[in-house]
């Protein structure tokens, strides 16, 4: 227990890590709250969406569907199409979440684009890793819920314009991409993902384009990887998770 970082020190580090997401989530959440109250959804239902769906694009899309008079069947299909990419994030976090059975349900269910981006790029923290990931995930959702409620209650009377501040999310993705470029120094995953995402978006629209981009990027990476990458992969990304349950030695 002595080697553990203090709870408040760990929390302030988690707080610092989530600041870019805070800027993006507060402004996007505000926009969502405004849209939801504009289209006549009650505040408690809007709150439930941010608590239990917790999927930015999915929530915007559902408000649009409700405004167009859609029902539960369309809602199910829409939610599946918009959010299916999150399953891929879960698959890549299986090992990282495995040592933390009590936190795992929340970590899994709160894995948004932004939380996955942060967790998969921030350095791992050994014995503190579970608590740290839990704090980052919960803080991100707190920003999203706070932004939503601000939009619902006070958004209409805000005296200042927040236009453009949500670019912080794009900037966050750019920063995390630069950090991945330092970690995985091979061109093909990036080239494959970018080309499939662009072509997928042109052909099938932005949401399907993301799924096509993920699939295309992984396909190109699996074709182009050299034999040496196979074994170095797990040690490069997960050097400090010695207490993980599943062994890889038998592969």
């Amino acid at each position: 227990m002595l080697r553990r970082t203090g709870r408040s020190a760990l929390f302030s580090e988690a707080l610092k890590a989530t600041v870019p997401v805070m800027l993006g989530y507060l402004t996007l959440g505000l926009a969502f709250g405004l849209l939801a109250s504009d289209s006549g959804l009650p505040w408690w239902l809007t709150l439930c969406m941010s608590l239990f769906m917790y999927a930015g694009a999915g929530q915007f899309a559902l408000v649009g569907l409700l405004a167009a008079g859609g029902g539960p069947a369309e809602a199910a299909i829409l939610s599946f199409a918009v959010n299916i990419r999150h399953a891929a994030y879960g698959v890549s976090m299986l090992g990282r979440f495995a040592p933390w059975p009590r936190l795992k349900p929340y970590l899994a269910l709160s894995l948004t684009d932004e939380t996955f981006a942060l967790l998969s790029t921030l350095p791992q923290r050994g014995r503190d890793d579970g608590r740290f990931m839990g704090m980052v995930s919960a803080l991100n959702q707190a920003w999203w819920v706070a932004g939503t409620m601000a939009g619902v209650f006070a958004g209409a009377i805000l005296p200042w314009k927040l236009e453009g501040l949500d670019f912080a999310l794009t900037a966050l993705f750019v920063v995390l991409l630069v950090e991945q470029l330092r970690r995985v120094r091979e061109p093909w995953p990036y080239v494959g993902a970018a080309l499939s995402a662009v072509f997928g978006t042109l052909i099938a629209g932005p949401r399907a384009g993301m799924v096509i981009g993920l699939a295309g990027g992984m396909a190109v990476a699996s074709i182009r990887r050299g034999p040496a990458v196979r074994d170095s992969g797990s040690s490069a990304g997960n050097s400090d998770s010695g207490d993980r349950k599943e062994g890889r030695s038998g592969e």
Partner: protein, 111 residues
């Protein structure tokens, strides 16, 4: 069915679908039965996902209209350049976002 109960039903269904999507990988591969090739997914999913997320941030831009995506491109390039050079996450994001907001306001006022 009234509109409000239809909305409640739609939210419940959507929440269940999203919970299923996010929970399924952990139920399918529970008990340490992590399949072969997972090291490959763990290594390559983050770079592939980050590339897709950056690309998707740019798909909503109307390139034909003023300001032709210039604030977005300049903001992203400034962010990437600063991150390569200084490697300070705060500096990169705040400077990039500020440049984007200034260019956007400036070009909207000039047109």
């Amino acid at each position: 069915m009234s509109a409000i109960w239809n909305a409640v039903a739609c939210v419940c269904v959507s929440a269940l679908v999203i919970i299923a999507i996010r929970g399924l990988p952990f139920i399918v591969f529970r008990g340490g039965r992590v399949p072969k090739g997972m090291a490959f997914v763990e290594r390559y999913m983050p770079p592939v996902a980050m590339t897709v997320l950056v690309v998707s941030s740019f798909t909503g831009i109307r390139w034909q209209e003023v300001p032709h995506g210039i604030p977005e491109l300049a903001g992203a390039l400034a962010t990437a350049g600063l991150q390569f050079w200084k490697r300070n996450v705060f500096l990169s994001i705040f400077a990039g976002t500020l440049l984007y907001m200034l260019l956007r306001a400036f070009m909207a006022a000039g047109s």
